[in-house]
């Protein structure tokens, strides 16, 4: 009975403290400044695009300031636009002027055997034939796609040299706020995608590396916070 009461209070206070903790990093995918909604058609410069899926791994998150650094103890997070809760990563930093994280997973995570939680292969971010994780997945339809059905799918992954796709992101935080909003401007990525040659990248290789290198430039603070 004593154990039961102990477990109860542990859960109770954890929930209370979590609900009061508003310190978080929120990822907001946008297209030309507007919040992205899945399956919605966006028109731009005579072309149209419709996003059906956006998922990516964020790992090794840290917030550093002049006096201290907060290091995310939770390893990797799967950010999935379909799952609104996944867009938030809670943090414990009291202050800081620099947010850093990786898009994707390191080689050690890729070879460490079967994993749980966000790293469970059931999440659809795992290649079974060339084992390893897909770091960044963007799927949808676009008028620019050369495929007859206008489909596109970019599964960017690979951890072995020279095809490693993990990317480091560093965002300066000019003014401190407990809730850090980070936009992911997909509009910056689209002009760099190989619409006419390979609008379907499903393996590690040069193409995946080339696009992955652009990813860090997508992450930014909202314009009113810059």
């Amino acid at each position: 009975m004593q154990q039961l009461i102990f477990v109860f209070f542990l859960v109770y206070f954890s929930v209370i403290s979590f609900s009061q903790n508003e310190r978080s990093i929120q990822f907001v995918p946008v297209f030309q400044g507007k919040k992205v909604e899945l399956s919605k058609k966006y028109e731009s410069d005579g072309n149209w695009i419709q996003f059906e899926s956006l998922r990516f791994y964020v790992s090794t998150v840290s917030i550093s300031g002049e006096k201290s650094t907060w290091q995310d103890p939770n390893g990797a997070h799967l950010i999935d636009l379909e799952d609104s809760l996944s867009l938030f990563i809670s943090h414990d930093a009291k202050n800081g002027n620099r947010l850093t994280f990786n898009i994707g997973l390191d080689s050690s995570t890729n070879v460490s055997g079967i994993m749980d939680g966000d790293l469970d292969p059931i999440k659809g971010m795992y290649w079974a034939w060339n084992t390893g994780y897909i770091n960044f997945k963007l799927e949808g339809f676009s008028s620019e796609s050369m495929l007859p059905d206008k489909h596109f799918e970019f599964h960017l992954g690979g951890y072995l040299f020279p095809n490693a796709t993990i990317q480091a992101v560093e965002i300066p935080l000019d003014s401190w706020q407990d809730r850090i909003v980070v936009e992911l401007e997909l509009g910056k990525l689209l002009p760099n995608l190989p619409w006419q040659s390979t609008p379907s990248i499903l393996i590690p290789g040069k193409d995946a590396v080339k696009i992955s290198k652009i990813l860090p430039t997508l992450f930014q603070l909202p314009s009113d916070e810059k």
């Binding site: 890729n110 055997g113 994993m115 469970d120 292969p121 079974a128 034939w129 084992t131 590690p204």
Partner: protein
């Protein structure tokens, strides 16, 4: 409102407490590492072997529940009596009779393997089974469907609870259970092993001795004892199959030098793992020896450096080699009831 939340939390705690009944954890055991063998590559610390976990993995291995239409199991293509390979099939057929493109690899001494599949595309034994489970020419299932099916079954949740402490079946526990079985498939009781251990009354014949000498001189650098593989990849001079056009490890690494490189398979129980090579092109072991004597494509830029010195085996030498290779047969492994269909 606050009272409702309080009550809800209390209910959650009660359910949690019931769900996590603290039972005695299952007894952990270690695999028997044969004397003078290297340390296993597999990290047992993250998946300690237990009898209940092994038996669960064994049950899953033989259960067609894993395939989309519940028609085939792992054992359909990995038969124990033939070294856990698909005897007499150049390439295996999976669901709906769909054919794959490669010969089924034997499942022997996997604890010492650094990578899996003919191209080494799989880097950890725990994640290997995801591939056949999802492959359209094999089980053609999805992980989510398998997990859902297992969780809805009458017997598996309680077996997983006994093995891993929780009733809910996850990808992780499914793969760990399968690994507990496959990592335990150790073959180290062939005549070769018994002679090496100087067991009483067991000796090589003169022919086998001559075969061993030839083997040491010409084969052992790749098929290195005691595993009879150096666990690496090589191009052995086979010409590319004109239909399959399988470039092997190149598809994984993208390095041109890896073209036509395939896993160097173990030769343990080679007598029964026919047909041979990554595409099963040779039906008989004597055909393989004949190939190494007369069939190597010396023009290939990818040919293993170990094969560049031409070696023509005489007919007697071929028979001697064959006699030695038969000493790698381990019937105690092939007929071990511990690994067979669970009854």
């Amino acid at each position: 409102m606050r009272n409702s939340i309080f009550l809800l939390l209390f209910a959650i705690c009660c359910i949690t407490a019931v769900a996590f009944r603290f039972e005695k954890p299952p007894k952990v055991f270690s695999i028997q590492i044969p004397k003078k063998w290297p340390r296993p590559v597999y990290d047992f610390s993250k998946n300690p072997l237990t009898e209940i976990g092994f038996e669960l993995g064994r049950k899953l291995f033989y259960d067609p529940i894993l395939s989309r239409d519940s028609s085939i199991s792992c054992a359909s293509c990995h038969l124990q009596y033939t070294g856990f390979t698909h005897v007499d099939h150049a390439v295996s057929h999976g669901i709906d009779g769909r054919k794959g493109t490669r010969n089924t690899l034997a499942l022997i001494n996997l604890a010492w393997q650094k990578s899996f599949h003919w191209d080494g595309g799989v880097t950890n034994l725990e994640t290997q089974a995801i591939n056949p489970l999802q492959h359209t020419a094999e089980m053609d299932n999805s992980l989510s469907a398998v997990i859902k099916r297992l969780n809805a079954s009458s017997n598996y949740p309680s077996l997983f609870e006994k093995a891993f402490g929780k009733k809910e079946i996850t990808t992780s526990n499914l793969m760990k259970a399968l690994t507990q079985y496959t990592v335990s498939l150790i073959s180290a009781n062939s005549k070769y092993d018994k002679v090496s251990r100087k067991e009483k009354g067991i000796f090589f014949t003169e022919q086998e001795k001559r075969g061993l000498k030839l083997f040491d001189a010409h084969c052992n650098s790749c098929h290195t004892a005691p595993l009879f593989t150096n666990t690496l990849f090589a191009s052995n001079g086979l010409k590319i199959d004109s239909l399959l056009k399988d470039t092997g490890r190149f598809a994984i690494t993208g390095f041109p030098g890896d073209s036509l490189n395939f896993k160097i398979p173990t030769l343990r129980n080679i007598e029964f793992t026919f047909p041979y090579m990554h595409d099963g092109r040779f039906k008989k072991l004597k055909d393989v020896i004949h190939f190494y004597s007369e069939g190597i494509d010396y023009q290939s830029p990818y040919l293993s450096p170990h094969l560049k010195d031409r070696k023509h085996f005489t007919e007697i030498e071929k028979k001697d080699l064959l006699a030695f290779l038969y000493t790698l047969t381990d019937k105690e492994f092939l007929y071990n009831p511990r690994f067979s269909f669970p009854r």
